[in-house]
Amino acid sequence: MERLRTLPGDDVRQIMWRFADRYDLQMVVQSSRSVARTTAARLVADGARNTHEWTPEKAELLKAFDASGLTGMFMEPEQGGFLAGPKNLAMCLVAFELSWVDGGAATCNLATDLALAPIHERGTQEQKDYYMSKCVPPQPGEDREVWRGAFALTEPLPYVGVDTGVVSGKVRIDEWKEGEEPMLQVEKRGRFITNMAFANFVTAAVNTDDERIKSSCMVILEEGDEGTYDPGAPTLKMVHQLSATNDPVLSLKVPASRIIGGYTVQDGMIVPNYSHGEIIAAVFQRTRIPVGVMTSAKLLSAVEPVIRYQRGRFRGGESKPGTPRYELGLQQNEDANHRLLDVWSTGESMASLGFAAGRMADDFDPIEKEKERIFAEQEIKGPRAQMKALKPKEQDAIEMIQLRAKPEGDRDQARLDALEADPLVQYSYLSAMSNVYIPACKLWNTGYGCQMMREAVAMMGGYGITEDCPGFLGQKWMDAQLEATYEGPEVVQRRQLALSMTGPVFAAQLTAWIDELRLHAQETPGRGHCTLATAFELWAWTVEHLQSAKDPEGKPLMHGRRQGVTFALADALAWLVAVKCFMDDVDELAEKGPMNAVVAEGLDALVDFFGDMATWQAARAAGEAGRVAADLVFGYILHPDCAGECCSADAAGNLFEGAEAFYALRRKVDAAVAGARLAKDRAAADLTKVMIPEALDYPL
């Protein structure tokens, strides 16, 4: 029977990634795709990546972004943009399309948005209107330059990093005349600052260096300001060469109105409304998602070139058309197909997680604004006071999760409606969830994605590491490493996950997921739902166990400084959450596909294929979680006498109290993997039959 017929097209993706009813986003996809596969692809093919300098050829990209409408995407219609409302999903889609061809091109496009993000998140209305409208390309009849921005958080070595606790840039009062706006002197040296070669303005994080300025802040520095605005030397990086990265030196005099979010004067002191840390937290909360999506595009874009390569592998030799060797090439071999399937299913899970995080951020944006409004009204100021005010809402959020999990007839619908209508409950829920989804996405997509990209490159043999490799796979592999570093290396994400993964709201959602997955497993058995449910159970059990467990010295294991414990759990969770998102997307496709005439044809086969992939991916994730759980649970126990509990012929392995419960769960996880290899066999076999386009996506 014919299963997967063609590689999944746009209609399928729109359903899975939930923008089938958003033609504005579908247009954005088309625009970015056309830039990616023409201008960006040509630059890479022509070797534009071979220099660190920002060249006129590379600058063609900016023109292409302007001409295609991508430059104005981040702005609101009243500022000259064309998309209304939150734009996280839109940015993810742009990042996906551009990095399908080149990650640097994607970063180049996103960097001005990153520079604008502090203004967007926390700027005053005047700052927003001014800078956003300067950054949209001129309309017909207008004659002005498009402004581009750069975002400067990181400092010169050895203080690079995104650890916001260390900022050595400084701000002090230069002049403050009676009744006039204070003038500030800003000193900031940056390193690794994207867009800096051509940026007209920089949003920079600086610490106070003046007792008359209360805290750190972010300021906007413009090219024309008095003093030094030196973009500095290009960074000699080996990745993302289609974006400009420099180490600038900035020493400028600016009015205090450039403090992002404004300030008040209290007792002769300038009090910024937001510290740099508060702004950056809000910015990174969102901008890390597209980076994770970028790496997912790399893996998914590798599928077709690898299939093409595999099928043609022996054609140069003696083999004749019609023979398996000629028609299938390397795809005659199970391993080739199995490995490619690993790449593909990882890529799917990454994309599903990334887009889920993007959508969540879109939901979160208006809720967060509403929360700010309510707190301002109630005069609840500062993170501490806000946290206190939100505490009781956590319970409500948990109740909301539990009510949602009940079947529709069985629950108190009025209560659920009331909870869902409360913005503070929604805030509590969405912040707990996005604090898991977003770091998980940035961490797992880029980190594990980078490893799998190596697999993809390896599948092309020696060709893989040449510049001529179709799909630019070698470059993508290199680039993936940077994506794992951008906006905070993996460790920063693990730290955030370690804090958020043990929160009560997330725990309640996890419990609800487990039930929901079990229900799904009954409805559509053999799609990995039960594998995942069991793995989640094991993970949750392990967290709970470790929270009270101690090492031989009596020190607690679940502890902020014990990164060996918390980081490993964070990694395991990221695997699981990613598959959860993939399964959700497959379920969505199965449900909504029949309503789309294009997708309906061949839908069952496609869902079966995706289902098999998800099943296999769930087994991999469960294996990972099981391994981590076992080594954490046992790894911190002193190894007993080897004739005893651990490995003798009749050892029960009961090295701690409650071990039986752990074994029962692990046994369940192992058993729940039943059929996963069969699913993999089926899906891998599909790869040998799927139709791929006659021509390459983009040039060599």
Partner: protein
């Protein structure tokens, strides 16, 4: 003088895909046709971009795009096309492949054009591709024109220039790279476009957002159009055999490449 420009154009399977003829339940078809990505027929695309350019330069002119194609697939293609130039879409829901009868397709198109609200036939310039990527009969536009009673027809058009006196100069392709230049005193007339002279316009999402507001409802309320190939039997269907002999070469001067191609053509 202003123009009412009606462009007939539909979608074709992306020619970069592997296109394999098969016999389906409704007769001949392409393998996995529904699932193949589609693009605006390149010939029709040239016609559309020329139409938009003409409308831009002649005040009070207007462009309609009349498409007979599967509406589910049209929506996807329009996401791209709508961003390029302003137009109003008229949709007929039916197959757009190369296996439908030219005469049936033309009849439906003519009827749809007749029923366009506010269309002034005295201003009508009927544009289309002189051929399409899915069929090479070059017959559809001629029949549509005849059905609408438009007898001034031009095929293989590369240039259309309005003159100061209201007439139009038309350049049609002839054999051997020559052009036939004619003067048309006034609309209506049919123009089957070759490639024209314009590049594909860049995307403009503002135009897209404007267009899509009318395109989506137009697609939603598309009337089904029965077109097929009743009574026709295809003895055999064959695509040109694909042959790709790709060599990766770098840093070769354009002149050398050209010389090599000429040598190859000469055999």
């Amino acid at each position: 003088m202003s123009y009412h420009i009606v462009v007939c154009g539909s979608i074709v399977p992306d020619p970069l895909q592997t296109l394999e003829p098969v016999t389906g339940p409704q007769g001949p078809a392409l393998k996995n046709e529904m699932m193949l990505p589609a693009v605006l027929d390149p010939w029709a695309g040239h016609a559309l971009y020329e139409a938009a350019n003409l409308a831009k330069n002649v005040p009070d002119s207007k462009v309609w795009l009349v498409s007979l194609g599967p509406k589910a697939k049209l929506q996807q293609v329009m996401m791209n096309v709508a961003q390029k130039v302003p137009f109003e879409l008229v949709v007929l829901d039916g197959p757009s492949g190369g296996f439908t009868e030219a005469e049936e397709v033309a009849a439906h198109l003519a009827k749809a054009i007749e029923s366009i609200d506010g269309l002034d036939k005295s201003k009508l310039l009927l544009f289309g591709g002189w051929q399409s990527a899915s069929r090479g009969t070059g017959a559809v536009m001629q029949i549509v024109g005849e059905t609408l009673g438009i007898v001034d027809q031009f095929q293989g058009v590369d240039k259309l220039e309005p003159q100061a006196d209201g007439s139009m100069q038309v350049k049609e392709r002839m054999e051997g790279g020559s052009y036939l230049v004619s003067t048309l005193s006034a609309p209506p007339a049919v123009f089957g476009w070759a490639t024209g002279t314009l590049p594909e316009p860049p995307n403009n999402p503002q135009v897209g957002m404007q267009n899509m507001r009318f395109i989506m409802p137009a697609i939603q309320k598309a009337q089904p159009a029965q077109v097929g190939a009743a009574g026709v039997e295809f003895k055999s269907v064959e695509l040109p055999a694909q042959r790709r002999e790709t060599r990766v070469v770098k840093d070769v001067p354009a002149a050398d490449i050209a010389r090599e191609i000429v040598d190859w053509i000469k055999g």
